[in-house]
């Protein structure tokens, strides 16, 4: 089972060229508390990597160590292959977009955006041209003389992005930059960030606790939990092949059926369930099958058929979600498209799934 769970396609391993950013056995302790257990993470040039995890999982600590705003307790940090562990933040050339934007309240929009250029002693003419062009790029032309507090949340966010992109840092860190925005604006800004990423070719490390955001934006997701990396992989990888029950539970909706392994499959309270092909587990150990709601079928043509009753229906616009309670009391969620329609409460159903769509995980 371990082999099946841990296997990662070769294409996902760190690329062979020099990584833009290389976190090597970096950890952080506060007294007796592990804020970050020693971990490794390589980010390729131009890659968009999201650091995802519940609050308190160490996301911000990792980000601050990379930005140089917090010193790691152990480990090395390489940028373009150079050891930058002890470089002060202003010499790292990493662009940081802060959670609360951290726009300078005493400077206008234009002065905020000009700040990093002034620090680099850029001549005035070139500076003005760049500031104007960058403000135009994020759709803020005409607002350059406003102060940050005179802007809406979305506009402030754009200023923060402009201030970061204006000096074209090769590596950009964003700490939950969309956390304070409403849903509609979040989606607009996600597209904006994707576009800026594509246009500038910058390497971006994006921190969020929002799984949808992570799935939508990232080349790879680094999922943190309890100060360590739970799983590192593409969004598809993480969604379809979660490495642990935590991952399966954290990303999207999951159905979990627990039981004991035996020769023919997984023995659960609802019967013997077949294992996904290729799984060669040791008999007698505890395990769980994880099936995504969209893979649960009504009246399956093949595979196991579990009997249950519909106990809850949720209308979610484009789909219906049904909760089916099985004989053992365990419940499964399944999705029905709008055209398939819902089922009445209490309706008896038979459930199944293609065996290869299930994941076998340790409980």
């Amino acid at each position: 089972m371990d082999a099946q769970v841990a296997d990662m396609p070769a294409s996902l391993a760190a690329p062979s060229r020099v990584p833009k950013l290389s976190v090597q056995r970096i950890g952080k302790r506060y007294g007796k508390l592990d804020a970050l257990l020693p971990m490794d993470l390589d980010v390729a040039p131009g890659e968009f990597v999201t650091i995802l995890g519940p609050s308190g999982s160490g996301k911000t600590t990792l980000l601050q160590i990379i930005a140089g705003l917090t010193e790691p307790t152990c480990g090395r940090l390489l940028i373009d292959g150079r050891n930058e562990t002890d470089t002060p933040p202003h010499r790292r050339g990493i662009g940081v977009v802060f959670q609360n934007y951290a726009l300078f309240p005493h400077l206008t929009v234009a002065e905020n955006v000009a700040f990093p250029l002034q620090m680099r002693r850029m001549p005035a003419a070139e500076l003005n041209r760049k500031v104007a062009a960058t403000l135009e790029m994020v759709g803020l032309g005409g607002l350059q003389h406003r102060f940050p507090r005179e802007l809406s949340g979305g506009q402030q966010q754009r200023v923060a992005l402009a201030r970061c992109f204006v000096y074209q840092p090769a590596l950009i860190i964003m700490d939950e930059p969309l956390g304070a925005l409403d849903r509609k604006l979040r989606e607009t800004m996600q597209l904006e960030i994707r576009r800026l990423h594509r246009d500038t070719g910058a390497t971006i490390l994006f921190v969020t606790h929002d799984q949808d955001e992570a799935l939508a934006l990232s080349d790879r997701i680094c999922l943190l939990n309890q100060a360590r990396i739970e799983q590192l992989g593409t969004p598809q990888d993480i969604y379809e092949r979660p490495a642990s029950l935590f991952v399966a539970d954290f990303i999207g909706l999951s159905n979990v059926l627990r039981g004991t392994l035996e020769a023919g499959g997984l023995r659960t309270a609802d019967g013997l369930l077949p294992l996904p092909p290729g799984a060669t587990p040791a008999s007698g150990s505890l395990a769980a099958l994880v099936i995504r709601p969209e893979h649960v079928e009504l009246d399956p043509a093949e595979g196991p058929a579990l009997a249950g009753r519909v106990t809850e229906t949720v209308y979610a616009g484009s789909e219906h979600r049904l909760v089916v309670t099985l004989g053992s009391g365990a419940s499964l969620i399944l999705r029905r498209t709008a055209s398939q329609g819902s089922l009445p409460l209490g309706a008896p159903v038979l459930l199944g799934w293609p065996a290869e769509r299930a994941q076998l995980l340790r409980p």
Partner: protein
């Protein structure tokens, strides 16, 4: 307030104090426009002579000197207080923090007179500074520190420092640490980060601190009286001399009134000149 009428009575002590202060102020104003009768504590009829008498160079120079001393005190109090306030807010170790707090704030626990007396033992001809310099052989005869503007300003800075530090520390601690972090990540070193972010954002505290130090020094009496010893005169000392040595209450009152107006005018000018900076608060 409705349903809890007794709350109204809680303002009574405040109102009493305010009335007392207003009455005293009215008395001073009233004295300021009455004629002085030499040899008598009583006052004569209405006159503006007290104010015209103040135009004599002797008095004008005392007003000028007072404003200068106040400005110097506010300036040096700011220069000495800023590093202390910065250390107080940003020190990492708790021990260092409490040390700064003790150094900065204990002077508040001593009265102005006691504090000023302690300066006598430091600044006097046989005081600590001269004693140390003589012993080291750096000077042959004592340097005059008492009865000088330097001595007076030094002691006044000591008086105003605690309040300056507290006001600056309040302003500095209200600056979001992310601003400095952002500045650093955008390429500002520690010095430029301070000059471009911390300093302008602490401007409200700087203004509040210097205004308070200025106004407070304007009314200082014991310190210039004892350290200045009659050779460094401020308006308050002049008022004291005229009131309690010459018993010319009307002229003393008019000096007080003009001093108050001058202090208010200077502070208003300071506010006006820094109105743009004040917006940041």
């Amino acid at each position: 307030m409705r349903g809890r009428p007794f709350l109204g009575w809680f303002v009574a002590p405040g109102v009493l104090c305010a009335l007392g202060l207003a009455a005293a102020m009215a008395a001073v104003l009233q004295y300021a426009v009455r004629a002085h009768i030499p040899g008598s504590l009583g006052v004569g009829g209405f006159t503006l002579e007290n104010f015209s008498g103040m135009l004599r160079p002797l008095y004008a120079s005392v007003f000028l000197q007072t404003v200068q001393l106040c400005a110097l005190t506010a300036l040096f109090s700011l220069l000495a207080g800023y590093p202390l306030a910065h250390a107080l807010v940003h020190a990492r170790s708790a021990a260092w923090k409490s040390a700064v707090l003790v150094i900065a704030v204990t002077p508040l626990f001593l009265g102005e007179v006691v504090r000023t007396y302690s300066w006598l033992t430091v600044l006097g001809n046989s005081g600590f500074i001269n004693g140390a310099l003589l012993w080291l052989g750096l000077i042959d005869s004592p340097v005059q520190l008492m009865f000088t503007r330097f001595g007076v300003v030094l002691a006044l800075v000591h008086v105003t420092l605690p309040v300056m530090v507290i006001m600056l520390a309040a302003a500095l601690s209200h600056i979001n640490a992310d601003y400095l972090r952002a500045a650093m990540s955008l390429g500002a070193g520690p010095v430029r980060g301070f000059l471009t972010v911390t300093l302008p954002l602490s401007m409200p505290g700087i203004l509040a601190g210097t205004s308070t130090a200025f106004a407070w020094t304007f009314s200082a009496f014991a310190t210039p009286q004892m350290i200045g010893g009659g050779r460094v005169n401020m308006v308050s000392n002049l008022v004291y001399q005229l009131g309690f040595a010459s018993f010319n209450f009307p002229f003393a009152a008019s000096l007080s009134v003009v001093g108050l107006a001058l202090a208010a005018a200077v502070l208003a000018l300071l506010r006006l000149g820094t109105a743009r900076l004040e917006r940041l608060a």
